[in-house]
């Protein structure tokens, strides 16, 4: 009896977590137009999805935005983390605190203030404004991920490299970056995911010239759930699974 209780509980948790996803995947192959009845196997929604040019464009836009936002924020974030870790300077605590403020503050506040800023400086809303906004909210996550790795970093390693004849630049290239690589990968993936599914900030700072996927889906579901969305969701699921496996593989390889 007491053995069954935890098992049932656990099963329930997993069912609640995964059943909606499974339903989504199954119904993406449903031939019926209705979301409630099964009409046989079909790829018609995938076809419809790929024939929807606006949707495909939004998908590419989103991917490109997530790629560039993750890359830019990883570069800036890694440098920020290194600076915070290596040097003592005026305003270090302030900088550290400000990163946390960005992370903790409600997204809506960030969205409004970014929009106000962009309007103030006269920046046309589109790819650039989206990129700036996404880099802003990804940055603290990257910094924290890299800082965590650096805190366990042996301070003697750079010295050992210098001692053996490496310049500061060569040391960074051959010792520092390889050692913190897992954190860079993790930070990049975090940024990529955050950017890919952001709605709130994007709603405020995107313009008609650059439509991205979450907003496109959002506008689609407002007028009723189309089965195309199921197909899209399945594709995104496969894509994220692929990214997850890829990152784990990279981490495992770098550890060996």
């Amino acid at each position: 009896m007491s053995r069954w209780l935890p098992r049932t509980y656990l099963t329930l948790v997993y069912v609640l977590l995964y059943v909606p996803i499974i339903v989504l995947v199954v119904f993406s192959f449903n031939d019926s137009r209705s979301g409630y009845e099964w009409g046989g196997l079909s790829l018609r929604w995938y076809e419809a999805l790929f024939n929807n040019r606006a949707m495909v464009q939004a998908m590419w836009n989103s991917l490109w935005l997530a790629l560039s936002a993750a890359t830019v924020s990883t570069m800036i974030g890694a440098l920020t983390a290194l600076a915070l870790h290596r040097y003592r300077f005026r305003g270090k605590k302030l900088l550290n605190g400000m990163l946390f403020i960005v992370m903790m503050s409600p997204e809506i506040v960030l969205a409004i203030s970014l929009l106000a800023l962009f309007l103030l400086v006269g920046l046309k809303l589109g790819y650039v404004s989206l990129l700036l906004a996404h880099v802003t909210f990804c940055l603290p996550f990257v910094v924290i991920t890299v800082m965590a790795r650096l805190s366990g970093f042996d301070e003697r390693l750079p010295e050992a490299a210098r001692d053996l004849g490496a310049s500061d630049f060569t040391m960074t290239r051959t010792v520092l970056i390889p050692v913190i690589m897992p954190a860079l990968v993790a930070g990049w993936l975090l940024g990529f995911t955050l950017s890919l599914d952001d709605v709130v900030v994007s709603t405020f700072v995107s313009g008609p010239s650059y439509e991205i996927l979450p907003l496109r889906i959002y506008s689609m579901v407002r007028v009723g759930l189309k089965p195309e969305v199921n197909a899209l969701g399945t594709l995104l699921l496969v894509f994220s699974l692929f990214m997850l496996i890829l990152s784990q593989w990279i981490l495992l390889r770098s550890r060996r």
Binding site: D154, R156, A160, A161, R162, D163, L164, G165
Partner: protein, 373 residues
């Protein structure tokens, strides 16, 4: 006569206004094994880091074979370091770790392979070349760190407490191995440690440091048998400090000193002496003779502690004026059951001529010396 290899003059270093090294001068000879010995915070590691180039002095110069290195970055100095926790590159194999320094010199591949193999053979790790550092034991990692530093054939090897993370037995093995390496390579070793036993057993010369000042520079024998001051005497080995008072200076280069009411005749020390002057009489535990309570010689006391150490019997004896005396006696072949009872009355004496005399120091130094007891 050995030549000076590295010459440090007037070196000073402060961290956040705290003086770590205070106008220090030191000449390191070519091919010697020199140890920087001192308690933590004495400046020994800072001194080593100044030599390596990780820190730069506020004042003073560092010359290596006549060439000014004071402001040379570490990668341009012909000396290498073995770090306390080895600092092996975790993402590289043992081979790549050792090859790193040669790759930085842009040596041809074939030469790198050959020299790395030689270096690994020297530390008996040939078959571990493909392993990653975390797959090795502490002692093996230590040997990789040494191979990595010596493969560049430096003029000088700097070792920062390299054995402190190893267990006792491994440490002894590595001490012997390091000595062997130093003889075979003929490289100057600068060794930092806080372990006085290690310093005495390995070094050609020992530098005793405290508060950024050299307390004494000499051979292990000089440092142990003829300490320059109270600090060195206390830091290097165990010592009994007996309070003495000079009775009179004799004509034949001896003085008569009153110790615990006994009138003893000692060799005249280097420092000026006058009748009535107090001084310290230093006796190592192994110089103490423990006698029967009815002996004519010695000071009465009783045994308050006994420690069986295998080859010696170490005891603590309380004299009547409550001075503690440490005695360390070898077991006698004729009396293998030799032992003391706690509370057993004994008399304490020594052979005149084995003592070492030191003058009284400043009240602060005296207080500090007493504090440790």
């Amino acid at each position: 006569m050995k030549q000076t290899l590295l010459s440090l003059s007037n070196l000073s270093k402060q961290f956040d206004g705290k003086t770590v090294l205070d106008s220090l001068d030191l000449e390191i000879l070519d091919g010697e094994f020199i140890t920087l010995l001192g308690p933590s915070g004495c400046g020994k590691t800072t001194l080593l880091r100044l030599m390596a180039g990780f820190e730069h002095p506020d004042d003073g110069t560092i010359l290596l074979g006549g060439q000014d290195l004071t402001h040379t970055p570490p990668e341009k100095r012909p000396l290498n370091t073995v770090f306390q926790n080895y600092a092996l590159f975790p993402h590289m194999s043992v081979f790549d770790n050792v090859a790193y320094g040669l790759k930085m010199e842009k040596r041809p591949k074939e030469e790198i392979r050959q020299r790395v193999d030689e270096a690994l053979a020297m530390v008996q790790l040939e078959e571990f070349a493909r392993r990653k550092p975390h797959q090795l034991s502490g002692g093996q990692q230590q040997r990789v760190a040494i191979a990595r530093a010596v493969v560049k054939r430096p003029k000088m090897l700097l070792l920062d407490e390299p054995l402190s993370a190893l267990d006792y037995k491994l440490r002894r093995t590595m001490q012997v191995e390091l000595k062997r390496l130093q003889r075979e390579l003929g490289i100057t070793f600068v060794f930092v440690t806080h372990d006085q036993e290690e310093a005495l057993s390995m070094s050609d010369r020992v530098v005793v440091l405290k508060d950024g000042l050299i307390q004494q520079l000499g051979t292990p024998r000089e440092v142990y048998e003829r300490p320059a001051n109270l600090f060195t005497a206390r830091f290097v080995g165990e010592t009994n400090f007996f309070p003495g008072r000079i009775d009179k200076a004799n004509g034949d280069d001896t003085i008569t000193v009153d110790v615990f009411g006994l009138k003893r005749t000692f060799r005249k020390p280097d420092f000026p002496v006058a009748a009535g002057q107090p001084l310290h009489v230093l006796l190592r535990p192994e110089d103490i003779r423990v006698l029967a309570p009815d002996d004519d010689d010695g000071v009465a006391g009783k045994v308050v502690e006994r420690n069986y150490k295998g080859s010696t019997l170490d005891s603590v004896i309380h004299l009547e004026d409550s001075t503690e005396v440490l005695a360390s006696e070898f077991f006698d072949e004729d009396d293998p059951t030799f032992d003391y009872r706690l509370g057993e009355p004994v008399k304490v004496s020594w052979v005149d001529g084995w003592e070492w005399l030191l003058p009284m120091e400043s009240p602060e130094a005296e207080a500090e010396a007493n504090l440790d007891e």
